[in-house]
Amino acid sequence: MNNKPRIGVYVCHCGINIAKTVEIDPVTEYASQLPNVKVARNYSYMCSDPGQLLIREDIEKEGLNRIVVASCSPRMHELTFRKTLAEAGLNPYFLEMANIREQCSWVHEDVEEATAKARKLVASSVAKARLLEPLEEKEVDVEPATLVIGGGIAGIQAALDIANAGFKVYMVEKTPSVGGTMAQLDKTFPTLDCSACILTPKMVDVASHPNIELMTYSQVEEITGYVGNFEVKVRKKARYIDMEKCTGCGICAEECRLKNRIPSEFDVGVGKRSAVYLPFPQAVPAKYTVDPERCLFLTRGKCGESPKCADACPSQAFDFEQADEMVEFKVGAVIVATGFDVFDASRKPEYGYADYDNVLTALEMERLVSASGPTGGKIVLGKGDEAYTPKDIAFIKCVGSRDESVGNEYCSRGCCMYTAKLAHLVHEKIPDANVRIYYMDVRAFGKGFEEFYDRVRREGVRYIRGNPSEIFKRGDKLVIKVEDTLTAKALEDEVDLVVLAVGLEPRKDVREIIDLLRLSQSGDRFFLEAHPKLAPVDTATDGVYLAGCAQGPKDIPDTVAQAKGAASSALILLSSGKVKVQAQIAIVNEATCRSCGYCVEICPYGAIEMVEANRMGHIVSVARVNEALCKGCGACVAGCFSGSIQQKSFKDAQILPQLAVLGVK
């Protein structure tokens, strides 16, 4: 094939939009004189069917192999004309556009100036067009399966939606049971539904769904590959119990020598468990797990004569020899639903959380009021004979939220309403309680929120605007020092119980996920979505979606909505079965690559890796672009000192001639 460029230049009048300020004929005539230009024409509307036909006919008759269209912005019609080229059997990337409308005729009034500029823009496009290369638009198959990381309500909802649509889901949950934070809640605001009642059926669905493979007490170790083709490695941690045999009867936990001596994670320390445990009664799967860090037999190699749990197990499910199991599988999409951590209240020492037993976090309070909690839902403090029911109860809001001093400038969105809910529950359980809430602002923005807030106030909960400065003990009471900012009065409020409305924070182990998927974080350190408005569940890594509080604090309805969004995004990918790969991507000349690795560091998508190459018998390391991951930004190109990495259609060799033409006076 003769590769010598034969260029056609098509100057568009765009009615009078261009023709009014740019003299079309001289520009066309000028274009016809440019090197390698075989045909130069103009037409009233190049984008119209007759306009496009003109191009197609010329390609055929004149043997054109490069097309320059001087018209509107390529952001407007680049795809249109690429299609035109393709229809004429020409590679669509043999198109170059000169923007003589938005960036010329519409912004200049002087005909002479605008015409001169149009000439230059056309010449610049011709200079580039001479050097264009055909590009391939590749498609890759999508593995029809999804990995959901995290088994809270976000992960559960996303998994169920995808599974119900008929696609395989692998759900990986770090703890022994799905359920997440929602399982720990007593009631949900503003409707006061029982949290467990609405959640547990979904938990069971996840475990029993034929399309869902649930891996609890498991961890994702490695994700490689790219959209449509991720290779996942999961570590199923040893439970030391045969999942097949365990019936969940609980005899082992009863027998454990450490029974009621280990703080329960589920009850956030308010309750205790054994070394072999079920996190909570409704846990799914309802299988016991041996805590390898606590179990006497596992840590010391000895537990009395022999482990009582194993001896007692009616189904002989114990296996202390069990090892972690590695599972590998392929998925097309990944949903990250890893949730959040609650703010560690001891980071606000002025509130005395670490010092006083009767300063609780809201989540601890949640377990205290929960019917399934350690006190059976009774709000009692102290132990045994010293147990008492608090009467004066204060809530402090925005603990760890909207607080620059702890690095969290954001609002945690849920605290206002869960505080109202807890206040309501306290009132319900201790009718004569004096409940006050110290607040900065009340944000009751959701459906039914303002109504609920009103209801709670009507129930007698006092809202006092002020940010307590200190909490200290005076006798049996806790004293809250605070200024009521509405009355400008300094108060010392004596109470029996302080509940800190702690905010939501990114998980402490967030780094693990970032490293797995090369996700970015926004300023608040939660995962960064691809676009805050138009792509709120997508990430910069194609095929990876966000759901729930991993992306930022949200309440249950918002979490579920986002999970459904993420599921829908994944389903679009899975059901289309194919994914298009960017054509204008980076490519490495391995022969000149200097192995410095700058491109690898620079690439925001982890699309470049160093690989070994043989250079005349020597093993050298060179950069290689994963075509499916590259988004074609070109940041690596400008960072490559040896010019060994180039972006297709934006090569140095294609841009420099443009510069040369634009420089001509």
Partner: protein
């Protein structure tokens, strides 16, 4: 203190190792105060190794300059280590090469030579003239003493004959080494970039005139690039014809572009060894331009290259709050 016996003993032991290909050090040159890079393959060759205020050459450049010759079919490439003698500045070049994966740590055995500064041969020439017979120099109590061919000795205060880069040197001791030949020396230098600031304070016209005068004499011999331990592209884009970034034509415009491009590629990478300026046959003050970027990088990004092998390259990293005063 410099201990040549120790140097030669260590060199002997090193080249005797099975995992060492050869050692690169310095030896007496063929005339005057010249010193040559010396490649030692056998223990018999170590006796001519030396270390003195004349050892300007940054030998780290040979780690990447030495060609990887085609390996004959059926043979394995020689992957043994190269042993390298380094001054403080040279060691920073090695570190920067490690950062940029130009070499791997296993490929190099670093013999550290704490250094009290090397001379500027032009300053020496002015004082002693360029002799024909080979002559030597040494550090003596804050002075540099020259053993002249006629048997006489002349000593000068260090600051009179030291290279400029050594007067302001803040890293006279190797920042990374496998073995240190003698005790570390006390750091004497500090650098406030007065020379850079002085030029910076001039008007654009004055600066342009200053550099045009310098760049007009450039003969494009590329010795500045080739000697630079950080310029290790096998195929420099400034040599390349497709695309053509720079013309080969020798004129002040092209020379300016070449020198600016070269300096830019060294931003955040130049370790101030001063070799480019030393080798320039037409005495272009290249360090003055490199040091400008060094200063900016240090002030703006609190970054110094060639100190920590684990650090991220400056031009392959950013901070969201990098300064941007000039951006509209």
């Amino acid at each position: 203190m410099v201990d040549l016996d120790k140097l030669r003993t260590v060199a002997k032991e090193t080249v005797s190792r099975d995992d060492v290909k050869y050692l690169i050090g310095w030896s007496q040159g063929t005339f005057g105060y010249r010193v040559s890079p010396h490649f030692v393959k056998t223990p018999q060759e170590v006796d001519s190794l030396t270390f003195s205020p004349l050892c300007s050459n940054n030998l780290a450049t040979y780690l990447t300059l030495t060609e990887k010759l085609p390996v004959p079919r059926g043979e394995e490439p020689d992957t043994r280590k190269v042993a390298l003698m380094v001054k403080g500045c040279d060691s920073r070049a090695v570190v920067q090469q490690l950062i940029e994966q130009g070499i791997t740590r296993e490929q190099v055995y670093i013999i550290g030579c704490p250094c009290q500064g090397v001379v500027d041969l032009q300053k020496v020439d002015e004082k002693l003239g360029e002799g024909v017979e080979p002559a030597q120099a040494s550090w003596e109590n804050g002075q540099i003493s020259f053993q002249l061919p006629d048997g006489k000795t002349e000593a000068f205060p260090r600051e009179d004959v030291l290279a400029d880069k050594c007067i302001t040197c803040r890293y006279p001791n190797p920042v990374l080494s496998d073995i240190l030949l003698w005790d570390e020396v006390e750091v004497w230098g500090s650098d406030d970039y007065e020379d850079v600031k002085e030029l910076d304070s001039k008007s654009p016209e004055e600066k342009w005139a200053f550099w045009q005068d310098k760049f007009s004499s450039c003969i494009r011999c590329y010795s500045c690039r080739n000697v630079c331990p950080m310029c290790y592209c096998e195929d420099c884009i400034l040599d390349r014809l497709n695309p053509t970034w720079m013309f080969r034509s020798n004129n002040v415009v092209e020379n300016t572009a070449f020198q600016v491009a070269r300096a830019f590629h060294l931003a955040g990478r130049c370790i101030e060894c001063g070799e480019c300026e030393r080798v320039c046959p037409v005495d272009i003050p290249l360090m003055k331009i490199n040091r400008k970027l060094y200063k900016e990088v240090r002030e703006k990004y609190e970054f110094e290259p060639g100190l920590d092998p684990e650090s991220k390259p400056l031009q392959a990293s950013y901070r969201p709050d990098d300064e941007e005063d000039f951006i509209l």
